[in-house]
């Protein structure tokens, strides 16, 4: 007897049932897993945004540090190799005019009001004038050494990151290499951070901070206006726009001041004695009683007087 058509179909269906069931279960599990992974990925992306925002905020500190250093450093004239010109502040300490100026000449202002500095921040393979990253130039010996515990300052500190011959004969054979560095960006540092400063008054600046890859360009128009080299950094407008949309940007207004934290503490004879003009000791070992010294605060580049976060993107930065 020939089996009826329905039983032949049922039979054929039944042959693959287990596989179908298992495949179905597997598909369900896969769907769950994909949904789960998708959610985890979103969460990870949100945490990356936190990281980028923190990076942008670190660029506020970078911008402030740059403004402080640039109030005095960076104006050396190579034509005078033995005298190294320095500036006297964004508001010149000598006469109150706008700086930074190396001479008492208003026309020599290197960064007038309205100037903008765009500052992408990435690591060099080896920066200029790089020093060794060693944490201890003079480690205190451990108990296996006869010099255990003795803080002997035998070795010069710091040491350059290129060989200068020490501890043998020190010479300048590699000075040029030291001074040039290796400017190739380290890949793990590129496209992460930038800041931009615009001088809006004598000592006031608008600071823009970014935690992404636009390198401080405001928009594509600015990139295009800067020429083919700038365009080549991104290739296409869409790439730039995608980077800009993905990066946090913060804007602040800050003011610089030449004032520095005081050294009043323990400088004059503050104890109850009559000669209050006498200095306390410079060396604590030569103080009496307390064994203290003057405070020795140091700051050759001024301070930031105040910081104001701006509610949104300013019209001009």
């Amino acid at each position: 007897m020939i089996a009826p058509r329905w039983s032949r179909t049922a039979r054929a269906t039944r042959d693959g049932t287990v596989l179908i069931l298992v495949a179905g279960v597997a598909a369900i599990l896969a769907a769950l897993a994909i949904a789960f992974l998708g959610r985890m990925r979103e969460d990870a992306a949100e945490s990356r945004m936190i990281t980028r925002e923190a990076q942008a905020r670190i660029m506020l500190v970078a911008a402030c540090s740059y403004l402080r250093e640039a109030s005095r450093l960076g104006y050396d004239d190579p034509a005078t190799p033995t005298v190294h010109e320095e500036a006297f502040g964004w508001v010149d300490v000598r006469d109150g005019t706008d700086g930074p100026k190396t001479r008492e000449d208003a026309s020599s202002n290197a960064f007038p009001v309205g100037s903008v500095a765009r500052c992408p921040m990435h690591l060099w393979t080896r920066t200029r004038f790089a020093i060794s990253t060693a944490a201890c130039a003079n480690p205190i010996a451990d108990e296996s050494s006869p010099d255990f515990g003795r803080p002997y300052l035998r070795n010069p500190d710091p040491r350059p990151a290129v060989d200068n011959g020490w501890p043998g004969s020190v010479d300048a054979a590699r000075w040029d290499d030291f001074a040039r560095g290796d400017p190739r960006p380290r890949p793990t540092s590129v496209g992460m951070a930038w800041f931009r400063v615009k001088r809006i008054a004598s000592s006031r600046f608008v600071v823009a901070c970014g935690g992404g890859g636009t390198e401080g360009w405001r928009d594509w128009n600015e990139v295009a206006a800067a020429g083919p080299d700038a365009i080549a950094r991104f290739g296409h407008r869409e790439v730039f726009d995608a980077l800009r949309d993905d990066e946090p940007r913060l804007w602040y207004r800050v003011e610089w001041s030449p004032a520095v934290s005081d050294n009043m503490y323990q400088l004059l004879e503050n104890r109850i004695h009559i000669d209050h003009y006498a200095w306390r000791a410079f060396n604590a070992s030569q103080d009496f009683g307390d064994g203290r010294s003057q405070a020795m605060n140091r700051n050759p580049v001024g301070t930031i007087r105040w910081i104001q976060r701006l509610a949104g993107e300013p019209a001009d930065w």
Binding site: E46, T51, L73, P81, E86, W124, A130, S132, N283, R292
Partner: protein
Amino acid sequence: MVAGSGARSGHAAKRGFTLFEIAVSLAIAATAVTSVMLVFPAGMKSQTMARYQIYAAAKALELVDGYTAFHTANPAMDSEAPAPWMVSSTYGNLAPDLEHRLASFRFGLFPLPIDLARRIDSDGDEIQRILDDGAYLYYSQPLATTGFKETAVGAAPPNEAQRLVFAVVGHAQQNALTHFPWKNWPYYVPYPSPPAHGHGANEPGYSKPANRTPVAGMPSAFRARTVFLWEDLGCEDPDMRFVFDAADDTGTAYGYRDHLKTHDRASAERYCRAALWYLARKGFGAELDGITAGLTDWVGAPDQAGRRDQVRAMRFLAHAASCLTAYVPRGELDAGVALAPVAFVGAPATAIAMRNVVITSANIAAYHDTCLDFAMRFASRHPYDWLVPRPLNRQTMMDFPLLQWDLFTAPLSGTIPHTAIRAEQWRPIAADTDTLSRSIGRGFQFMNLDVPSTDPAWPSGAGGAPFWGDPSRFTLAEPFAPSERCRQLVFWAVDWQAWEDFETAPSAPVDAGRYPLSAPFLAATGFASLMERFRFMDWQQFGYRNPEKTLAFTNPSVATAATGSDVAAFIAGNDNVAVHDRGATPVAMSVFSGRWGADRNANKRLDRGPVPRSQRLRASTVGRFNYYDLRVMGEIR
């Protein structure tokens, strides 16, 4: 045709599951199950990593903020000495790089013990390469950057952020010198004020010239360490000695010290006459007659030495004349107090003849204004002229000269005091080495030495070789791109506290510069006495000591204590309770070096993790943050 029974049996047999079907099903099921089993923990790991990213972001913000915001003071340090290797003020502990600045018990960055760090694997073996370069891996203490006294803060809730370890990647640029050990400029005085004098050890022929006597009449409670006039030597102007202390041929005393002791109208007037003598000695004074408003420019067109003279002259005159306001009735002072010329025993002739001078209250106010104007004018323009102290009244960035070491010239060399150990440090250069070398004078704590000195007892120059480095290698002022300063904080997550010895492993090697070492002193009996000279005060010394100092164990018995035992009594803590790491005893040196480990999770108990020390752990890279590493020291606000 009817199908045979065999055919009917074959059809029946096909209805069951074949083993092949079962095998395939099992394989698919196993694959699905395994995949899912792998995926879900990966999701959990992803979440855990996301959490660490948040921790890393917070920690990065805190580190960079602390790096630029913490003060730079160390009000109990030795910073001056005849040679740089005698004090640690020019070494890495005070360098303005992030890892050096913050590696302090007060600023919260602690080096991970090398024993532990060497057991950590990471992507691309990055951690081991960092360690191979001599850098450290760091962890941090919870609540470290609050600035609060550590032992006042209660035990913090478990801080998962301690699982983060981090390092600084990328080279720092060569930094400015924070302190110049031969003369730790700037020196500050109030304007106006008398010639600078101050406390130091009474060591004639050693740190003081043999003929330099303590200033008698000052409070005598201090015997061995007392007060010396410095500025006449240190700023190369012996004339001011007569403003400080002089006598005429009748033996009558004049000057600041006399008024300090006598403090009456007559002594105030004598002080003024001494100051007027100084003006005449320097060749000016008539220009001040009758002024009622402060001068706002130099008198005449003085050269550099002339400007110094004018600054000093007005400082002393304003100080002396101000004294009259305490003793002369206002009406009389408004009309004027007459002051006659004077001649002092042992004093040189004045450049111009002294005259009778009448000083009024309006003159005094004008002298005061002129004194300040001249001081500010000089300080603003001449950072490399160290022969005029800076005004405490207005402290600005230009008070601090730009100095650095020359790393490509043979270093200065000598021996470490009380040892035969050779030591070397680089030669200094300045933004204007030429001016500085001609106007540096002498330091205060070792005022018997010129800077530089070729006195063989104080070898600050290497056998006749130039003291200064090559000025052409000064780089601080060069034009720069901000990216040159860029370095990176890299964070990893690894449960390093799972190791059995995470608290008993010795601290990472501590740099010798972190020891608060005394400069040489006359009564020193050996190197150990330099280690034991002055107090350790952790509320005053921030760039010193083992970074793990407040957590360090003070007793070797901790290593054999039971896990979980209370070890609060064996933790170094803060110095106002007890100091455990000062001096040259084996115990003190062991505590200083962190030889017996530290309470690294700050819970006051000895903890041992479940992982044996033989087992390596893998660190997961959590995040990277670029930051700006300054070349100079200073607070951001």
